[in-house]
């Protein structure tokens, strides 16, 4: 008779053998997993452009093949060329914006459902064939691969006639201009720093690749809900060189145009982009474009009001610029004009920030820092530190047709006679504004 014990021993044996099996199975799986991981790792490393295993790995575990095959970096990384796709691949959803030079709409990729932005180029082929501005936009955007520059996916044709050409780009929810207009308070100092760092890193990338953007402004800077900005609209961008080729002065939206361009300089360089970024910096702080001239002359006078007038000492050679002659009366009557770019104008900006801003807004292009130099400015290292982009607030998207809170606007007028306005009413309207004391005011949110 078998006792319960023996029975139990059998059970235990069985149990133990099962355990053993399980253990073995587990070990096998683990080993396999590890092997796979190693293989993947090796694979990942193989993709690096040298096409060979990095030294560390090579010495640690030499490849097993008898005759290691030498691969060359170009062997498996070749792009081919071929015809453009057509617009049929996309469903157009809603229009977003009409830029200086094309219509932008939101669209969905048929099949995948991904949302993209479609920019239709305005093409008038009668004068110069395919417009050179469009070619440059495509050429420069294609050459760029940077986290803070909008990604050009492809170029599609609207039809067989080649009249309609669309750039397909990643869709971003916001542009900085619309966002600033709708915010009740400006970005926090830490957020401003993050945004400025992103803008400057994109600029540094462009400039080191010999591309000058020539149309920096808040409406050309897109932002997503993950705290990332991307530079867009390369309609004015082009390659430049050293020495620069002959360049047109008809670039950059007036409010962001550097003084040397307004004065008619023909051999300008990357400094004009830095000026525009300075304008954007100021706009991020106050939500208002800093210089809002009505024409070239009033733009210059706005600039000189804030920054003082140039002298031959601060900007040697500015008097020999083509349009400088027209300025002589302005310069002579206001010789005593001193810069008013100070803490009173930007109350929430630290002295480091003010220094960074005024460096970018130097009248003399040679005095402006490069994008790379701006990135290492002490302003970005002092407290409050730049906010991690993951911590950014999100906003309802206008381009995505999301509901937004309306800002208070005056009521529509009631029926009846319109109130009479006399010229005298306006006589003093601007005078008082000039003498109004500027104070720091009060801010609830800090950091």
């Amino acid at each position: 008779m078998s006792s319960r014990w023996t029975n139990r021993d059998d059970d235990e044996d069985e149990y133990l053998s099962q355990r053993k099996k399980q253990k073995e199975e587990k070990r096998r799986l683990r080993d396999e997993k590890q092997r796979k991981a190693e293989a993947e790792k090796a694979n990942d490393l193989n993709i690096d452009e040298v096409g060979r295993l990095p030294k560390r790995l090579r010495t640690a575990s030499p490849p097993q093949e008898d005759a290691p095959e030498v691969t060359h970096p170009f062997d498996n990384s070749t792009q081919s060329f071929g015809s453009s796709n057509t617009l049929d691949l996309y469903d157009v959803l809603n229009s977003i914006d009409e830029g200086s030079y094309g219509f932008v709409s939101r669209a969905r990729v048929k099949g995948s459902g991904e949302v993209v932005a479609l920019k239709r180029l305005k093409i008038d082929r009668s004068v110069e064939g395919f417009p050179v501005t469009g070619l440059r936009e495509i050429q420069t955007l294609k050459a760029c691969s940077h986290l803070h520059i909008v990604n050009l996916r492809e170029i599609v044709l609207g039809g067989p006639s080649l009249q309609d050409v669309y750039l397909v780009m990643d869709f971003l929810e916001h542009d900085l201009k619309t966002l600033l207009e709708d915010m009740s308070e400006p970005f926090l100092p830490s957020e401003t720093k993050t945004l400025m760092l992103q803008i400057c890193s994109a600029t540094e990338y462009l400039h080191s690749n010999w591309i000058v953007h020539r149309d920096f402004k808040t409406s050309n800077i897109l932002m997503n809900n993950r705290g990332e900005i991307k530079l867009a609209d390369f309609g004015m961008a082009r390659y430049t060189g050293n020495p620069p080729p002959k360049l047109t002065q008809h670039v950059v939206t007036l409010w962001y145009r550097a003084p040397e361009l307004l004065l008619g300089a023909e051999d300008y360089g990357f400094e004009i982009d830095i000026w525009s970024i300075g304008c954007i910096f100021a706009e991020l702080l106050t939500r208002e474009p800093v210089f809002q001239g009505k024409n070239e002359v009033s733009q210059l006078s706005e600039i000189f009001t804030l920054l003082g007038t140039p002298t031959t000492k601060t900007w040697p050679g500015f008097r020999s610029l083509p349009n400088a002659k027209a300025l002589y009366p302005l310069l002579n009557t206001s010789t005593s004009r001193k810069p008013t770019l100070n803490a009173a104008r930007f109350p929430y900006l630290t002295s480091g920030g003010l220094q960074c801003l005024s460096a970018m807004l130097a009248l003399n292009p040679d005095d402006r820092p490069t994008a790379a130099k701006t990135l290492s400015h002490s302003y970005f290292k002092e407290d409050p530190r730049p906010k991690p982009k993951e911590m950014f607030p999100t906003f309802p998207s206008k381009a995505g047709q999301e509901k937004r809170r309306r800002r208070a606007t005056p009521q529509a007028p009631n029926r009846g006679d319109a109130p009479k306005l006399e010229a005298e009413d306006f006589a003093g309207i601007l005078k008082t504004a000039e003498h109004e004391p500027q104070g720091a005011g009060f801010a609830l949110r800090m950091g």
Partner: protein
């Protein structure tokens, strides 16, 4: 496949083997296609010279033209032109050549007006005044400023200009669409000079031969610039030039081309192709005068 960003600045989009096969197999005898490819490339080179364009812009034009011809190889109407055996290239091939020059110049620092391009092509395709011997059998290939060709033979009237300009713009659009607007071309010339310095073999006579080989390779009917990356072209040109001039680059035993990421097999093919170009051109010349 995603390319590393730093590699992109020294690499080109290449033709797939299917594209090249389609082009070459259109006709039973590839020699007609080859002859047309060579003539159109040569026409482009001459136009660029007459328009005072720098060689980098001319080279870009030729590569864009060849890419267009390869890319549109599946389109019957385009390829029929390449398989037509005649001395003067089809009008539409001439337009494609003109448009590629116009497009490349437009994107460079040396833009040109449609008028200058149309004038130069009118001269080059005139059987009486052309400098190309396959078009004008009396051509010497040299312009004598003392006795310029009679301008009556290549005058472009205002009406003809309008027609030509429209054809130029149409061809430009066709090129752009068939390349999906990928007009970026990286040339091997500067790479070659850098490699020569790296090999401590940077002398003027050697550099002249290297650049000559690179420029000649542009005209090769084997479409070398569409099938090989700039680094390989540069290395092959250096190898060939050094052998011609009997310059010892490095120790014979050393596979120095591996340093520039070129394999023995690829180098061998390129050296053969570049070396055989002379024979091909001589044979072509005979066929022109023979007709």
């Amino acid at each position: 496949m995603a390319r590393h960003a730093s590699l992109a600045i020294i690499s080109n989009s290449l033709a797939t083997s299917k594209q090249v096969l389609e082009l070459k197999n259109r006709d039973a005898t590839t020699s007609v296609v080859d002859a047309n490819l060579f003539k159109t490339s040569l026409l482009t080179q001459f136009a660029g010279l007459l328009l005072h364009l720098p060689q980098e812009v001319i080279a870009t034009s030729i590569i864009i033209l060849q890419r267009f011809l390869v890319s549109s190889a599946s389109i019957a109407t385009e390829i029929d032109l390449l398989t037509t055996s005649q001395l003067i290239p089809e009008a539409s091939l001439v337009s494609a050549s003109a448009a590629s020059v116009y497009l490349s110049a437009k994107q460079s620092f040396y833009p040109l007006s449609p008028r200058s391009i149309i004038n130069v092509y009118a001269l080059l395709t005139s059987p009486e005044a052309s400098l190309l011997s396959f078009i004008n059998s009396n051509a010497t290939g040299i312009i004598h400023s003392s006795e310029p060709p009679n301008s009556r033979n290549y005058h472009v009237s205002e009406g003809a200009y309008e027609t030509h300009r429209q054809a130029l713009f149409d061809a430009e659009s066709r090129i752009l669409a068939s390349l999906a607007f990928d007009t970026k071309v990286v040339l091997p010339h500067t790479l070659a000079l850098t490699y020569m310095q790296a090999l401590s073999a940077s002398t003027v006579p050697l550099a002249e031969r290297v650049l000559a080989h690179l420029n000649a390779a542009l005209l090769s009917p084997q479409l070398l610039y569409l099938t090989h990356q700039p680094n390989a072209l540069a290395v092959a040109a250096i190898y060939l030039a050094a052998r011609e001039q009997e310059v010892a680059l490095v120790d014979d035993e050393v596979a120095w081309w591996e340093v520039f990421d070129v394999g023995r097999e690829g180098l061998g093919f390129l050296v053969l192709s570049m070396g055989s170009l002379n024979g091909f051109v001589e044979a072509e010349k005979v066929s022109w005068t023979g007709n």
